[in-house]
Symmetry: C4
Subunit: 274 residues, 4 copies
């Protein structure tokens, strides 16, 4: 296991090409947010927009439209009960699952629609739905972001077994599609096709609802944008960025709210772009 | 009567344990907010989240969902007209009553559902409902936060009699459950099972609508989180924190809005954590 | 005509009494905001709350509830289509008219309900409704805040004639109730029962929609709160405060948004309280 | 082609006349924002208000009203499904098209209603609708703000041909009404009746959704307000201001959100007013 270090930031976060337009930095589709969990997709979107995604659309319960626009006019919205196939296919990165609740229908429709070249990030309730209903993973570039209990459900690797890297590697190899695994825990581990990394920053100031939704949004933003890096590197940089900002905030704060982390993204990323 | 001093903060607000996750810092359920008084639960939730509660859910009138998410995507929402029993039982701290209006049905359902190990904070209109309908208190760890008129209704101790501590102590002893009493007034008094404390900070810059809703939210956040302290100490620290932040703001402001106090919590608490 | 000077601020804005609670600083009821003009009552309320009113309730179109709570959880809301009589009678200061549109029914109901001891501030569309329908003024302490065209409609004094103070004084004397007149123009004039004042501060940075709604809200907040001053003095101090803050902001800004002026109230007022 | 320089700012942004009221700075009507693209008109309006327009009304889907008021109480709202003719005729500047989607009916109704003296700015989906349905341009002072693909649709000049100024000039001459063309690209070009200008500031930090909506809003605000400048000069100053603010923000930020640019307008404009 390799330590994940600040070096990943200068490797991934590059000065933007001069001749760029919004399409250059990717189209992100966020799918989630039932009535009860609308905040989850708001936090996804705040993170993705502030991380620099070119265009962000949120497919969610229409009850969440106003709250999204109240904080983030930069995002577009669409009813997640409408036909999503064409919408999914017109985006580069799909983030599905934060606050998705029990909407198995939406998850299946999305998985069926995606193409191999797309990046699909599966988070939150979508992971539990995959496990409960024995779904195949989408035929795409796949990133999954379970915490330990979700990983147990999805992989069958018990939390005790998860301490042994080999179990996690083996489980990934058994997927119908090889994922990049972000295994969230005290020291989050990232399993890429080539290596395993451990995050040694971050802290208990981050232990509050919404932190994972924000991480998923940063991953989406980085995946959409840093196409010169490998997807693995983009994910690694997103994971590092998320906790590095939190640690900066924790210098003067007892807790670090997820929405504050998103607000700090443009300033933080500037320090590493070159 | 003992003066409540800044010492309570260092006693209660501790450096967070390194191996923590959001569940470590408690699940808070806020119940209240009829259509007319939706702001009350928003202020409850802003306070609880910023105080560091791990997970915060607001059970309220669905008309309030968008306003909650517009300010606080970190909170989850649920319709308070739905079946609340299971929801109540899955939380560690229940704060009920801010802006609850005349919803006796919700109050009864909640009181019936709680377990002895849970912390229940009863605030605002819930106190008047208890008095009017002669309800038994819930069989839980109980905190009540009346102002003087509400205390008179609840206990039968007139405002004049309240000047004598013995009347208040006796009234608490007559409850079917021994409460921690936060008796809000010029110098707020806190009656714990062992001692009586008086708050000597705070001031008229705090005299505006929503101040009590914010206090109740801080109490909920502290109760959820500072499980190594006694509940009494957590309540005492919450009461002190609320007015100490207000006094800091009042150095440069004529009045101190409740929502501003909540925003200052992470920075303020950092100074005392060790 | 006397110049209105900064002296009015130290005369009116007093250090708050130590033994105070929210009721001490008055209950303000704001009535207005049809669907199209919901922003008007939001600006009323932002001003009144930040000016220090103890309790603020907004009676408006229910479509505006969420936007109010999204910015100002400290305010309560009520449907202005419901029976307003009892509500009106339970408040100390009534501000009616900002964004009221053509709701003559609400204006009549309010005027009929008020008591002589209440302060009623009539602003915006309510002034035009009074003129068009030849309504009697409410039997209360009356403040009216017309711009020049509205004053012409209400009083019959043409804009040309308004340059002569005597016409305005005479028109006020002809009201069934003697008002305090805030006549908004290049140099706003305030006609009190005893004197006429002219405001010599403020500037074209204030020339934008919502400026009058904010002024009306500050007047309401000051009237509710500074009961030791005369109502005339409270109005004078509110008018001065509104433009003084704008002028401060204009040191570094080309225009001064009404909502920014409200945000500055607590800090500004602190400088004068003693 | 002339470079567009900072000089345009001191030429256009003038110290406001002392005797001014909100009408002096123009009435702006923004038309757009279907349910899915509500954020577009919010960004239009944030820009127009902060740029200093006297009065701003947004005609949009009623589902967007609350989000508009949550961020910008200074704007008025109206249902864009209602009769717009009279509304259009009572405004000085009409900005139509941001997030208008496929609402051809609204576009036609607006074009039919405008007078020659009005300024009409056509943006976003309205440009595609004009091209698809071969609409005549409105008989007004016309500003159009296409990106290169939209310009190809509208004018028939292919993106390759657009590199040659003469093709663009010729296409403008063929319009039934001579437009001011803001051709958005790497170095945005502005075709006025007399000259062609090129913008040499701005950068890829601006490459994100909503940037064009914000530019259109600034143009509307400047057109409404700087009536002593020619319309061409007002448009030129708006284009320069938009990117100059972004470049300032980019000193410390990796990306510059459209809503942040709007927030900086009052401070930025102050530096040039004299």
């Amino acid at each position: 296991m390799k330590p994940l270090t600040e070096n990943i930031l200068t490797k991934v976060i590059k000065k933007r090409p001069t001749h760029a337009y919004k399409g250059t930095f990717g189209r992100v589709l966020i799918i989630g947010g039932t009535l009860q969990y609308g905040g989850a997709v708001i936090m996804n979107a705040l993170a993705a927009v502030n991380a620099g995604a070119g265009l962000v659309t949120v497919a969610t319960d229409p009850a969440n439209f106003t709250a999204i626009h109240s904080q983030l006019p930069e995002a577009m919205v669409v009813d997640f009960n409408s036909d999503l196939i064409e919408l999914v296919q017109h985006h580069d990165v799909i983030l599905i699952g934060s606050g998705l609740g029990d909407r198995l229908d939406i998850l299946k429709e999305t998985f069926a629609a995606v193409y191999p070249k797309q990046v699909v990030i599966v988070d939150g309730s979508a992971l539990t739905l995959v496990a409960e209903h024995h779904l195949d993973w989408p035929k795409s570039q796949l990133v999954i972001t379970p915490h330990q209990m979700e990983w147990q459900r999805v992989s069958g690797v018990s939390i005790a077994q998860q301490a042994f890297e080999a179990f996690n590697v083996l489980a990934c190899a058994n997927f119908n599609v090889r994922p990049i695994l972000v295994l969230k825990q005290f020291h989050t581990q990232i399993y890429t096709p080539n290596d395993i990394y451990e995050l040694n920053i971050g802290g208990p100031h981050q232990a509050m609802g919404g932190m994972g939704d924000t991480l998923a949004g940063i991953i989406a933003g980085f995946a959409a944008q840093f196409f010169l890096a490998s997807l693995s590197d983009a994910v690694l940089a997103a994971v590092y960025t998320h906790s590095a900002i939190a640690d900066e905030l924790a210098q003067t704060q007892y807790i670090t709210r997820p929405t504050e982390i998103s607000q700090q993204l443009p300033r933080f990323m500037k320090k590493y772009a070159n």
